[in-house]
Amino acid sequence: MFSYFDVLSVQILFSSFILMANKRIKSYIKTFRIQSLLIALTAGAMGFSLEKGRIDLLVVCLLIIVLKVILIPNMLEKTYASVEYIVEKDFILNIPILVILSCALVVFSYFSVSTIEGINSGIINAQIVNSMSVILIGLFFMISRKKAIGQIVGFLVVENGLYVTALFSTHGLPFIVDLGVFIDVLTAVVIMGFMVFNISEKFDSIDIEKLNKLRG
């Protein structure tokens, strides 16, 4: 019965691998949409399957679909369209190496979670390992991309990973906290998008390697 969630958690993890292997900004955004959809599915499935019937999870599922599947990706696409630049290499290492390093992150998160005693009585919970790996891969994605939009997507993936971790480890945070986190994420993306726009105006590029004036 729970293997159903196992499959979903692996799919979410795999979608972050695909994100890592994406080359263009448009495909990042598309992959992010898919990942969020999977998370919404997980939340919805969990809302139905828990004994008490958690209505808040269903609401959250709807919220994810509205915010992370539709609104935020659309906003990112719009930002991207307004700061269009010549397509160029956006990653620091080549893709197979990035992906293999991400594998190492999965192993790392396995070892860090395995230090927890008694998490789900003896067997290490695969879902928590997977969702923590999503966070780590999101962080790694942020440092592997040079364009500002890539970093925003990385941040969103970290946020997704956090949400999935909460979902799998504790069946979601208290509802009011969930709501607050969504509002924060939405505001953060709006602000970051606006800032990307400003940066592209001042620097004629959204390459964050050009942001190197302040040191020491």
């Binding site: 293997s3 159903y4 196992d6 499959v7 958690s9 692996v10 799919q11 993890l13 795999f14 691998f17 695909i18 292997a21 893709i95 197979p96 992906v99 293999i100 991400s102 594998c103 999965v106 192993v107 396995y110 067997i123 290490i124 919970n125 695969a126 390992v129 997977n130």
Partner: protein
């Protein structure tokens, strides 16, 4: 006697079904481009027509060139006989397993590449060098996926693997098998020269891989070569569906009735997977040749994740 009949049926099913898959894929592609496309059975007619024609052989070529089509065809047939298709009984009298299966397929590929080099044509050399690269890249995934299945069912013999999989119930509800399924789809696409890796429908010298190797062949030789390649594709699909989506009749065979049902289920499964492959082919564009390592990495990562899920995180679940 009954045994021989099973062998014959399996052989017949494989040879009759293989060209149909190509027809289905072409039809779906045609629909996606808003064309009617060629008839479903056109592949059969083409093959029959080619079989009736004599083949032209280059004067510069050696015996390798002439013998290669037959070797390719017979390796494909041998591989087909090693895989239980409709019944548990493995028709081959050899005690073969997945390792033998992979080597037999490798032998066929080796001769294809050799024959392409033999005529000393420019395209042949190019095609075989590309084929070598693709196969080197995809080989680890093939081995790892089959061995993983073997490890889980604690055997390398295909009938036993299938039996163990049936014992699990519905393998595709477990993450590890979902991962293997997806990885194997990528393997099938790469091995049977389908779109992200190679475009089977063009003769564009910059992109072709498999077609480049076939370029010199004509007539009967070409027909046999093509049929061999189609059977190889079907064998891989068969491996996928019979291991990961096993059905009852496959395991416990009893008489003609069960056999007929089994054939129907089998054909339905194969056609479903073929449609998935066709959709994948429609949705993607051909990759740059140097991006193929990325695809291979993808399939390898899938297997890695599956491996992790099963052997480290939750081995006792399955």
């Amino acid at each position: 006697m009954q045994y021989a009949a099973y062998v014959l049926i399996q052989l017949l099913v494989i040879i009759m079904l293989a060209p149909l898959l190509d027809g289905i894929i072409r039809k779906i592609k045609a629909f996606s481009q808003k064309r009617t496309g060629i008839p479903l059975l056109q592949v059969y007619y083409d093959l029959l027509k080619l079989l009736r024609k004599t083949s032209v052989v280059s004067e510069e070529s050696t015996w390798v060139y002439k013998i290669a089509p037959y070797i390719v065809f017979s390796t494909s047939i041998a591989a087909a006989l090693l895989v239980p298709v409709t019944t548990k009984i493995m028709p081959g009298t050899l005690p073969g397993d997945i390792i033998l299966l992979i080597s037999i397929l490798g032998l066929g590929r080796f001769f294809t590449m050799l024959a392409a080099l033999d005529t000393a044509s420019m395209f042949g050399g190019m095609g075989s060098s590309r084929e070598a690269m693709v196969s080197i890249l995809i080989e680890p995934s093939v081995l790892v996926s089959l061995f993983m299945v073997g490890l889980i069912s604690k055997s390398t013999s295909l009938p036993q693997i299938m039996q163990a999989m049936k014992g699990i119930g519905a393998p595709l509800t477990y993450p590890v098998f979902v991962m293997i399924f997806l990885a194997f789809l990528i393997i099938i696409i790469a091995e049977s020269s389908r779109i992200p890796v190679d475009d089977p429908s063009t003769h564009l010298e910059l992109t072709m891989v498999h077609e480049a190797m076939m370029l010199e062949y004509s007539g009967r030789h070409l027909a046999i070569m093509e049929l061999g390649a189609m059977i190889k594709q079907l064998v891989l699909i068969t491996l996928l569906v019979n291991i990961l989506i096993p059905h009852d009749q496959l395991i416990a065979v009893t008489g003609i009735g069960a056999l007929v049902v089994s054939i129907f289920i089998y054909v339905a499964k194969v056609i479903t997977v073929t449609i998935i492959i066709a959709i994948a082919e429609v949705c993607t564009v051909k990759l740059r040749f140097f991006s193929i390592p990325n695809l291979a990495t993808l399939s390898f990562i899938l297997l890695f994740l599956g491996f992790l899920q099963y052997f480290i995180l939750g081995g006792s679940n399955v």
